[in-house]
């Protein structure tokens, strides 16, 4: 039993059964090992992360606020650039970001929405406070896993759900479909996958099934008259009005971006610029989820919405500002330093791991290139229990929340909780052997 304020929660205990069901339903992700493609089952831990209703209401408000501000920021950056002119965000942070795409200048996505699906990573601190770790506004993945896991746990342990008031999370497909329908420019919804050998192929095909969208690959698509079409087997064509693409910006259109891309659709940018197809998420979002921009998100919320940020960032310092630089130089031994130009876990250094000599070198680098780095306090995040060989052990875990922006901005009452299987590791990545948990939002 898990004790929560005033009541007890009956946990799911039949992990093996559920993992067997996950196996039966082919819940896998792909990995490349020594150049060979392999499919792995994503280990599921039956002890859910539980968030109480009141607590979630706060998180929900904070996430809606954050996603709205980020969307406004993206619109602003690719149009009037007021936030730069008003001195809130220094221009260098915007334009050196590899996610900033000048090709998108002046292009307005349908309904002005840039980030339709925002995957926002949070951690719960030891103090019970939630902190934002990072925003993922390009192609955040992972929603399908808790979605199918819930379907199966409800079947395998019905008592648990009749005893505990857990908000049903299986409306994700409806949220996603509503979002696609809202921005659709005429024609069907489609999900563009790079193919079966992509790590998230299960998710692409599962979401296509649940939303009724066509699952497509680039070789069956073409752009003609600045509209996007799918070829059909009878020699006809079907118009696509909303494309939920699961490939990144630089590969999307070989005639605008990387000309070597074999998975893109030539002239898709022309159709998009002409307003004939919605691309989900829109192009150029990388500028808003950049490490260097993260620092400015609370300021953005104040600037665009006139509100204080409800959810806190991990305390972050920009050596670019003199005051922060002094702090970073003095306290470097206890900070995490991140290189804004690097992505995917690279360029992250814990000051505590460095020798005195290395620290001195690093200080010099920061003085010479202050724009290149951000520094953060190391958050003491709360561990969660997981079952390992029948015993409960504590592990690091984060939460990826999904915010969907369509006619309104809505937070999915669930999320992907990933945990590290290694007791010393902060890395919760699925490709590195991590597992996942369901995330329960209590309804009362």
């Amino acid at each position: 039993m898990i004790k929560m304020k005033n009541r007890q929660i009956l946990p799911v205990t039949n992990a093996d059964e559920i993992n067997q069901l996950l196996r039966r339903y082919g819940v896998k992700f792909g990995v490349y090992k020594n150049g060979q493609f392999k499919e792995q089952f994503f280990p599921f831990d039956p002890i859910p992360r539980i968030i109480e209703s009141e607590k979630f209401k706060v998180i929900e408000k904070g996430l809606v606020q954050r996603a709205d501000a980020l969307n406004k920021f993206l619109f602003d950056i690719y149009h009037g650039k007021n936030i730069i002119r008003d001195g809130i965000v220094p221009e260098d942070f915007v334009y050196i970001s590899s996610g900033y795409l000048p090709q998108c200048e002046g292009v307005t996505p349908p309904e002005n929405i840039y980030s339709h699906i925002s995957g926002i990573d949070l951690v719960e601190g030891g103090d019970g406070e939630w902190y934002i770790l990072e925003d993922n506004l390009r192609i955040p993945s992972g929603a399908s896993y808790p979605l199918i896991a819930r379907e199966l746990t409800r079947a395998a342990s019905p008592d648990v759900f009749s005893e505990n008031g857990v908000v049903d999370n299986r409306n994700y497909a409806k949220l996603l479909k509503d979002t696609m329908d809202f921005v659709n420019r005429g024609g069907i919804n489609a999900i563009l996958t790079p193919g079966r050998y992509n790590a998230a192929y299960f998710e692409h095909s599962y979401l296509a099934e649940l939303t009724g969208a066509a699952l497509v690959q680039n070789d069956e698509l073409y752009v003609e008259d600045n509209m996007l079409w799918q070829k059909t087997y009878s020699g006809g064509k079907t118009r696509i009005g909303a494309l939920y693409r699961r490939i990144s910006d630089e590969y999307l259109d070989p005639l605008t971006f990387n000309s070597q891309s074999l998975i893109g659709i030539p002239n898709l940018m022309e159709a998009y610029r002409s307003g004939n197809v919605a691309i989900i998420n829109s192009l150029g979002n990388g500028v808003a989820d950049d490490k260097g921009i993260y620092y400015f998100v609370p300021k953005m919320i104040e600037y665009y919405l006139g509100e204080k940020a409800i959810l806190k960032n991990a305390p972050t310092y920009l050596p670019f500002y003199e005051e922060d630089r002094d702090y970073v130089l003095k306290n470097i031994h206890k900070l995490v330093i991140k290189d804004v130009a690097e992505a995917g876990g690279y360029g992250v250094v814990f000051g505590s791991d460095l020798s005195e000599e290395k620290l001195a070198d690093f200080r010099k680098t920061i003085i010479n290139e202050p724009r290149r780095f951000i520094a953060q306090e190391v958050i003491d995040f709360k561990d969660l229990p997981i079952l390992e060989n029948g015993e409960q052990v504590m592990r690091k875990a984060d939460l990826r929340a999904f915010v969907l922006s369509g006619e309104t901005t809505r937070v999915w009452a669930s999320g992907l909780t990933r945990f590290s299987r290694n007791p010393d590791s902060f890395v919760v990545n699925s490709s590195q052997g991590g597992g996942f948990k369901d995330t329960w939002i209590l309804s009362r």
């Binding site: 900033y100 000048p102 030539p266 002239n267 610029r273």
Partner: protein, 260 residues
């Protein structure tokens, strides 16, 4: 003010049939404060319906799709433009201040910049460009066939040889290290029988054209076809096609003459 007649044609031939051919052409001259297009006709063969849009850099993009088998793609533009350098162009974009794909310097080019900028006393951005170009024209030799459309600024600088495209890229790299916004221009010039390339320098208020390959400011004998951060944004034709072809041959002819 000067009236220019222009014509430009390219013939793209494949050694085998191709199909599902998507293309994007940036060969219609830009309409701007200093360049007014009096008239311009375009023809494409095989016949294919096309759509025209204006991209983020202000280029006119002609896009089309040919699904049927074909072995060639010819396109041609003919028209007349009015060039008036007494007016000024002000379509600024912040990205022009930052290095791009083709202009990222390596150590050699960075060191060279440090050396040259130390010697330069000029304050005005355009004068600084003139100063850099003077030095470059002594070091870099104009030579065809050593570089291609993929050659980056640092590579051309290492070779110390190249064509107009390479001169432009090296200049852009130097000026951006100097924190001067500047952009790449692809166009036609009376002095060149093919397409030509030069740059524009932002002086704080407007764009000023400069031709690094000829080490001279741009006059009214230049017609802008496309502009962007570097060659990558400006290629006159880009295409993706399917088929068993192994080679493609491109013949380009152009002319730019004063109209009376």
């Amino acid at each position: 003010m000067k009236l220019l007649n222009f014509s430009f044609s390219t013939k793209l031939t494949f050694d085998n049939y191709v199909h599902n051919h998507s293309f994007a052409l940036r060969c219609m001259p830009i309409e701007s404060e200093v360049q007014h297009i009096v008239n311009c006709e375009m023809s494409i063969s095989p016949f294919v319906p096309t759509k025209i849009t204006i991209d983020a850099f202000g280029n006119t993009v002609t896009a089309g799709y040919i699904s049927k088998e074909h072995r060639f793609l010819d396109f041609e533009i003919n028209g007349c433009a009015e060039i008036d350098l007494s007016k000024s162009k002000t379509d600024y974009m912040p990205c022009y201040l930052y290095q791009s794909e083709y202009t990222k310097p390596d150590k050699e080019l960075t060191d060279f910049y440090a050396d040259v900028s130390a010697k330069c006393n000029a304050k005005d951005p355009f004068e600084r460009a003139v100063f850099f170009s003077d030095i470059l024209s002594d070091i870099i030799q104009y030579e065809k066939g050593v570089t291609d459309t993929k050659t980056t600024a640092d590579l051309a600088f290492e070779l110390k040889k190249g064509v107009c495209q390479d001169f432009s890229h090296i200049m852009l790299s130097l000026l951006r290290m100097d924190r001067i916004p500047c952009r790449y221009i692809a166009g036609l010039a009376a002095c060149d029988g093919e397409t030509h390339s030069w740059i524009e320098v932002w002086d704080g208020e407007k764009w000023l054209g400069f031709d690094p390959a000829n080490n001279c400011p741009v006059n009214e004998d230049y017609l802008v076809l496309s502009q962007g951060r570097d060659f990558g944004d400006c290629s006159i034709d880009r295409g993706v096609m399917f088929g068993a072809y192994t080679k493609q041959l491109q013949l380009i002819t152009s002319s730019l003459t004063t109209a009376y």
